[in-house]
């Protein structure tokens, strides 16, 4: 079952087009990674899926339903949860309060304060601390926990490793299996290729707003992905054998 289908997406900001013609599909229960260099358009794709960025062209289907015209707060209620780049925690609220606000989607599911604290014990230890006084890694954990509190069917993770020490990123990625086993599909944006290849089922490479490579992580070779990432001409036409 396809949980997310994006067809011919084109989007941008006032005088700048970030996404030209992107199509991708995520099957339920899988993890798809969007890889590409800085400025390739990955964040814009995620924002369009979350409903923050209105597409100029194309359609987005979530669970079979066309949500292209649905505003962001309603998409969250339908089950699309975005952990935005830069985390955007509420600085004057405590860790626990940030998590509780995440439950505003009122969606039923396995995630609540108890289960989030179980998966990320470091949050429980800091529950009363104001979010502004957390380290980068702690904030990232809260941001993910907050999105999970909404019990999303599709979790969009934007650059969760950005600016964080490798050990901290390890801890965060250790939570991924638990998230997947609860039934949530994940769309992940990452610059760190190594990290990505260890968790992703499917890979889509984006360069300057277009898809240059897509396939399963099993079927694509490292070389192919690296070339696509850096935009060598040869990889533009190649699609891997599934």
């Amino acid at each position: 079952m396809s949980v997310l289908t994006v067809d011919n997406l084109a989007a941008g900001y006032q005088d700048f087009q970030a996404v030209f013609d992107i199509s991708l599909e995520l099957q339920e229960g899988r993890l798809l990674a969007l890889v590409g260099a800085n400025g390739a358009g990955k964040t814009s794709v995620l924002r369009a899926i979350a409903g923050v960025l209105r597409p100029w062209e194309g359609t987005i289907r979530f669970g079979g339903k066309d949500v292209t015209a649905v505003p962001d707060h309603q998409r969250a209620r339908l089950g699309i949860g975005l952990v935005p780049e830069g985390r955007h925690l509420f600085p004057t609220l405590t860790v626990e309060e940030n998590l509780l606000v995440g439950a505003a989607t009122k969606r039923p599911g396995p995630w609540n304060l108890q289960s989030v604290y179980e998966m990320l014990p470091l949050l429980r230890d800091r529950r009363r601390r104001p979010a502004a006084r957390l380290s980068g890694g702690e904030q990232q954990a809260v941001a993910i926990g907050r999105a999970l509190m909404g019990n999303p069917k599709l979790l969009l993770l934007d650059e969760v490793s950005l600016g964080l020490a490798p050990l901290v990123v390890d801890q965060i990625y250790q939570a991924v299996p638990a998230i997947r086993s609860s039934g949530t599909s994940i769309l992940l944006v990452e610059q760190d290729l190594n990290r990505t290849l260890t968790v992703a089922d499917d890979i889509v490479c984006i360069l300057e707003g277009r898809v240059v490579l897509s396939g399963t992580s099993q079927g694509l070779s490292r070389e192919a992905i690296t070339e696509a990432y850096f935009g060598s001409a040869r990889s533009l036409a190649r699609k891997a054998q599934p």
Partner: protein, 290 residues
């Protein structure tokens, strides 16, 4: 010992200022809107109470509820109809809209009710007082007002800190776009903030009217200044600061009246300017205007 009496009276007076100011504080905190129509809305609240007593025969203490409900509903409507759009238009637009409202309200009131005082009497309660010794007397009604201020501010604090809607309100004031990512319609949040703000304004206006025995259309131009002064003296961003600010202002005015009957306003304003000059972040304020 007239001074002590004056100070006591001032503390009581501060109660009304504090209630009025808390609504202002809320709207500013959540939406960064400085509501210039605040005073006129207070006056409107007083009129709603007075009219409901006179025309619909509602018992005077219950007119508070009528005023609160009607003005709260008006707040919701005002936000959805005009202020939402103003927030998206420019930084200045909300200020201009509220200023427009502050012109419309008193002029409509003067046309409907003339500029004579529209009465609202609380009878015996207005003059009854408790006596401490021979010099100090505390009026029952001012005391009730002060208690009401503490209760209202306490309730607001509790609402913001302990309830989910309150949490959502605080989160929205931190970061409205992110709140939408979590499934919350920020426009509804703003409407709620405005509704609560206007409900407290209605309470303040009704108490103010009761205290004076009546209300006239243009008094809003005075009360808006008091409300803002209370917020700034106490410190923006602190609800308890608003109570402190209201009390300081009330005492300043009361002591001023003690010195000379034409001084209360001037002394109050000068105290405000002094706080602005010497401690701009206010007494309990956390953020200074950078």
């Amino acid at each position: 010992m007239n001074w002590i009496n004056a100070i006591v009276q001032g503390i009581m007076l501060g109660g009304v200022f504090a209630i009025a100011a808390s609504g202002l504080s809320l709207m500013f905190g959540v939406m960064r809107i400085a509501n210039l129509a605040h005073g006129d809305l207070m006056v409107l609240g007083g009129y709603l109470a007075a009219v409901s007593a006179k025309r619909w025969g509602i018992p005077v203490p219950l007119t508070i509820l009528v005023s609160v409900a009607l003005l709260g509903a008006l707040g919701w409507g005002l936000q959805r109809a005009a202020l939402d759009r103003a927030l998206r238009t420019s930084d200045m637009a909300p200020l201009l809209v509220t200023f427009g409202v502050s012109v419309i309200i008193p002029n409509v009131l003067v046309e409907l009710f003339t500029s004579n005082s529209e009465p609202l009497s609380i009878g015996q309660l207005g003059t009854a007082s408790i006596h401490f010794g021979s010099d100090i007397s505390v009026g029952w009604f001012p005391l009730i007002t002060l208690i009401a201020a503490v209760v209202v501010l306490g309730a607001l604090e509790l609402f913001l800190r302990r309830t989910q809607p309150g949490r959502i309100l605080r989160a929205t004031s931190d970061d409205a776009p992110t709140v939408r990512l979590l499934g919350i319609n920020d426009r509804r949040v703003y409407a709620l903030a405005t509704a609560i703000s206007l409900a407290t304004v209605a309470l303040a206006g009704t108490l103010y009217t009761m205290k004076q025995g009546g209300i006239t259309p243009f008094e809003g131009q005075l009360t808006v200044l008091f409300a803002f002064e209370a917020v700034i003296i106490g410190g923006i961003g602190s609800l308890w600061g608003t109570l402190v600010g209201g009390i300081v202002l009330g005492v300043a005015q009361s002591v001023g009246a003690q010195i000379s009957p034409d001084l209360p306003l001037l002394i109050g304003h000068l105290v405000f300017l002094a706080v602005l000059a010497l401690r701009p972040q206010g007494i309990l304020g956390r953020e200074a205007f950078a």
